[in-house]
Symmetry: C5
Subunit: 99 residues, 5 copies
């Protein structure tokens, strides 16, 4: 998994029928020091994530191991909303400090 921040969403009415009603979020990939990277991914949301949330996402076949993505042409899923993480015991990110 990598850490990312939800920065937007994609609207796509014409899509594979198995993806109806799925929410596609634009996730900016963060490094482990919580700095933005140039990378992004569009992921299906499986945990009720919203704009500004810092999340974990899984890719590949592992992205299809949720009820919302099982058997679907989806290669990235948000499977957790991050509360906090630390490096060497010091918190790098704490959700409650944001906004």
């Amino acid at each position: 998994m990598l850490i990312g921040k939800v920065v937007g969403s994609v609207v796509a009415t014409q899509k594979d029928e198995k993806l109806a009603d799925r929410k596609f979020l634009v996730v900016e990939v963060r490094d482990h020091h919580n700095q933005p990277t140039p990378q992004y991914i569009v992921a299906v949301d499986a945990v009720g994530a919203g704009q500004g949330d810092v999340v974990l996402y899984a890719t590949g076949s592992s992205a299809r191991q949720t009820l919302l993505t099982d058997g679907r042409p989806c290669d990235a899923v948000i499977m957790a909303i991050v509360d906090s993480w630390d490096l060497g015991g010091e918190n790098v990110y704490e959700k409650w400090r944001e906004g």
Copy 2:
């Protein structure tokens, strides 16, 4: 998934028999600000995408989760045509503004 723009197509008469009648499109990968990148992918089209369309594509085993690609040696599929996306509430791309 990543965002890309359909910029061409590949003709290949000699191919694995399970890929007969599949349409191979050349997709230029876009970043999340809709800028072109040097990357590309050749993807099977599962949603009727055409030249100039901005699309979402899935890779790996997830690319085989459509009726057109199931059980086939195909590692990239266009599974949605993008209408629009936003970053922080501002639209980066809107299909109706194009061409």
Copy 3:
């Protein structure tokens, strides 16, 4: 899939028994303008490709979806020989013009 050019072949007598009689080709990865890149891949040939052919190859589990690669420790397969492709309607490559 990506586009590549067959530039050589690998001889390996000591290999997993399920790979007996499989042909391993060295493929130089091309960009979508048909320029060489520093990347390469060694792929099993499933379509009778030969030296100098421009091909499409698939990777990952999708590389095992041919009769020759099914159930085998092979993560790249040549599944099509390219006749031509275009970008924006102009042909970038045409097989009949080569050699």
Copy 4:
């Protein structure tokens, strides 16, 4: 597999239900000379790894081949704690020399 060092952990109370009670560790990727790289991964721990341990991790569908990760939306797992490794017969890392 790649070699990494456990440098932190992620707290995420809101996550896919199949990931309840799983421990997410932040792993700094090492090169084969044991030098830090800018890359990281968040992996589920399947072997009781802790802060400062040097580990091996597997990604993709292979990350789901442990009792703790089977059928779960998890694309990286720590499947071994490294005691030592050598390059050309000289040990690059020996666990007992640390701390």
Copy 5:
């Protein structure tokens, strides 16, 4: 598959039980001109490879398609020992010429 050279091995006594008795080799990735790259991979050996051997390795789920790796948390396997390869008809590497 990519070409690599076996440059070392990893000792790990504490590991997923399904990996007991598996040999983890450190493989330096080579380019197709047989030049070293900064990349490496730790792979399970399925063909009796040893220090200094030039090998082919497969990654992802394809790495689990050998008797030694089936159903195991292993994402890279050495599935062939390279005797030689050529580029454009000229041999780049010949095993018998090595030490």
